[in-house]
Symmetry: C2
Subunit: 141 residues, 2 copies
Amino acid sequence: MSSPHYTIEPIGVVRSELTKLEESPMQGDEGAPEAWLELTPEAAPGLMGILPGDELIILTWLHLASRDVLQVHPRGDLKRPLTGVFTTRSPDRPNPIGLHYVLVLEVVDAQQKLRVAPLEAIDGTPIVDIKPMISMSASNR
Amino acid sequence: MSSPHYTIEPIGVVRSELTKLEESPMQGDEGAPEAWLELTPEAAPGLMGILPGDELIILTWLHLASRDVLQVHPRGDLKRPLTGVFTTRSPDRPNPIGLHYVLVLEVVDAQQKLRVAPLEAIDGTPIVDIKPMISMSASNR
């Protein structure tokens, strides 16, 4: 490709009881547990103002995904026809960014660490970005 | 930072009548126009199955953003107190990924090109990923 590339510098890491992909639900609302988001000291000032009860969008880098997959059987069900990855939530995609809607349960350690739920990302998943839910952001922030 | 870095390879580019940041609305629902999403030949097979009427999440790389900003006055309003970028939708943030909710209006050119609305990203903005809205994905895809 002729287009330029860009570098993701993770802002933190997911700490979770989930350690294996095969034990993780496919979506947060399918029984995913709580998790901790541990930010790097460099990124931690960006959390200022986040409070328990906030609803956030977490973007992660699904570091175990396959980046050369463009079509999949949705949810791994071979009875479903092949479909483009951009119409699915498959982790396998050219830029494997995970998108997770979570509720903030706790903010600790001088704002460097958040407890959130639900989160289906496994332990060690790099965190790329954190955003407020759009319904909050459009009018208030 | 000791954590590894990752490389974004854009899957396409935004083509829009918006060419200047200062003319762009801050959010899509604040009067943003239609735009074309032009995919690279490599990524285009990932669009298979996308249809007019689909609601998608577009992730972009806000290539003009400042990556060293961690706290901002929301919406650039100096009367508002400084707050962490992760509680705002500011484009300035360590990994400047834009998140846009759009409706698909048209699919053309053997699925390499989508017309969508609304999109506040300016012409030339790299596209990082495309996902179905979560309400569609959790149960159906």
